[in-house]
């Protein structure tokens, strides 16, 4: 048995093993599930050093000497202070000092929170601006946008689409208002409309995701039947 054959064979076995859960949970599945979890954690342990801590912590702290005439970088000693900070988390299992594990968590959360303030407008400003679309048609020579349209003019079909866009956005936004007790029937209806329009959006997402998901399954089947069975087992192609 050649190495490529063995490699393909374990891939097929693993795939079939994981698929077998569709019938019911069984030992075959349980075996591959545990292999999967083990390999994934093993890989994480590797990646943690090789791709996270080494380049963005250790090498920053120790500096790197010049390689083949490239520039050397200085080491920044203060990086070492992150180590005890990270270790504080390990006090979580201590009955007496478990509060210390909240310090690193607090710092991570603090950094995250500060970033929210920092990026909020940059993320959502353009979205809000993008919704400011004209809804009054200003040119009536054609219903849809003709090929030689001027940049300024708004055509009826555009205006209609934009109106629909804005109604959808606003009704969805107002559906998610929680602290106002709405008694006005029109607003209740508008919020209900928001919910229905949301469902259209969700339906469309569902539909467009189907293509990708099925393609991945087809690719798996191609791997099993053509790449493994036909090419490796039968030795064709």
């Amino acid at each position: 048995m050649s190495y490529p054959f063995i490699k393909a064979l374990v891939g097929v076995l693993a795939t079939v093993g994981l698929y077998s859960v569709l019938y019911k949970e069984n030992k075959f599945y349980r075996f591959f599930e545990h292999v999967f979890l083990g390999l994934a954690t093993g890989w994480t342990i590797f990646v943690l050093w090789a791709e996270v801590l080494k380049p963005s912590w250790y090498e920053k702290m120790m500096g790197t000497p010049s390689v083949n005439g490239g520039p050397a970088t200085d080491g920044q000693w203060a990086y070492i202070l992150l180590l005890p900070l990270g270790l504080m988390a390990y006090f979580v299992f201590s009955k007496k000092h478990n509060w210390m594990s909240r310090i690193p968590i607090g710092i991570i959360l603090g950094l995250w929170s500060g970033q929210q303030v920092q990026v909020w407008f940059n993320t959502y400003g353009p979205q809000i601006k993008g919704a400011m679309k004209p809804i009054l048609p200003s040119a009536f020579s054609s219903f849809t946008v003709p090929a030689n349209a001027s940049a300024v003019d708004v055509y009826p079909s555009q205006a209609l689409s934009n109106l629909l866009y804005i109604v959808t956005l606003l009704s969805v936004l107002s559906y998610f208002l929680f602290s106002f007790e709405v008694k006005n029937k029109a607003i209740i209806k508008f919020n209900m409309l928001g919910r229905y329009l949301l469902m259209i959006g969700f339906g469309a997402i569902f539909g467009s995701t189907v293509m990708t998901r099925f393609t991945l399954l087809i690719d798996r089947m191609y791997f099993i039947w053509i790449e493994f069975f036909q090419q490796q087992v039968l030795g064709r192609g």
């Binding site: 994981l18 093993g42 000497p65 979205q127 689409s161 259209i200």
Partner: protein
């Protein structure tokens, strides 16, 4: 000079004794801090946690609010204290931005500890799934071993190039290839593709004309699926295209499947997703403010 602290204080050439000394000093400082924290009286604990959270959040908020000079050359010296702070913020940014990754990186041990605890106990107690626990721990050790082994081999550039050729692989590279490419990646793909089964059974069960909402969901999803079936789209669009002789203003143009799908996508799907994202964005901002200012009870503070 308005630099907060000279760069020379924070950095030293690689391999220099000054650097090593400072690192050792830093380590001792850290250990001392750990020890000091174990002695902290109960009533101060909250403030310490809050202080850490607040300061780290403050960095980004300051970074956002502090006036930054428009242009800055690589060797510019700040002209006043405001610029000094601005320069410092900017220079520290690339350092601070990695903190989250590094600190959470150090915590991975806890995850591994959790796994070991559960599975070693099972093995020790002879639980009925002890064999599987053994498999899990075994594959974890094997993966880490082969991955590091191969990594260390490849640190040598000549060797790394040699290993581009599969015929020259030793047991370490082979093992890594089999475990990572042959198993782990294949299992990723298998689990990812299993969703196809679930999407089918979920659609079969949920897409019933039971309520207005379910009907809307069903109709839109089916329409989009049909429009993505090249054969169907081609036939339907061809039929309506024939009716209208390609005049974009014609009423029948609206019935082309691809036109409909695009219309729904642009004017209904995009704004409804935008609406949701805006809402969650506002929620995240509020949550961020509460955590940063220590108003959130029960969680980080």
């Amino acid at each position: 000079m308005f630099n907060l602290l000279p760069i020379a204080f924070w950095s030293d050439p690689a391999g220099s004794s000054a650097l090593t000394g400072k690192i050792v000093f830093g380590l001792l400082l850290g250990v001392g801090l750990l020890f000091a924290l174990t002695k902290v009286p109960t009533q101060m604990r909250r403030s310490i946690v809050f202080g850490g959270t607040f300061l780290s959040g403050l960095f980004y908020v300051l970074f956002y609010l502090w006036p930054q000079p428009i242009t800055r050359g690589p060797n510019d010296v700040p002209r006043d204290a405001v610029e000094g702070v601005a320069f410092w913020l900017k220079d520290s940014f690339s350092v601070v931005v990695n903190f989250t990754q590094i600190i959470s990186g150090f915590m991975l041990g806890l995850g591994v500890y959790s796994l070991l605890r559960i599975h070693l106990t099972r093995i020790a107690k002879g639980h009925k799934d002890a064999f599987f626990s053994f498999v899990l721990l075994g594959s974890m050790v094997a993966m880490a071993f082969f991955a590091y082994g191969d990594y260390i081999l490849r640190l040598d550039p000549v060797k790394a190039q040699e290993l581009e050729n599969p015929d020259k692989w030793g047991p370490l590279t082979r093992g890594r290839d089999l475990l990572f490419d042959g198993l782990l990646q294949q299992m990723d793909a298998a689990m990812f593709s299993i969703i196809a089964f679930f999407i089918l059974s979920a659609a079969y069960r949920a897409f019933r004309v039971r309520s207005v909402e379910a009907t809307i969901l069903l109709a839109t999803a089916l329409l989009v699926i049909l429009s993505l079936m090249g054969l169907v789209a081609d036939r339907v669009d061809g039929f309506f295209g024939g009716l209208v002789a390609n005049d974009p203003n014609d009423f029948f143009e609206n019935f082309k499947l691809t036109t409909l799908r695009n219309f729904i996508g642009d004017n209904l799907q995009t704004p409804s997703i935008n609406g949701i994202t805006l809402g969650t964005g506002i929620g995240a901002l509020a949550m961020g403010l509460r955590i940063w200012l220590g108003l959130e009870k029960g969680s980080g503070n």
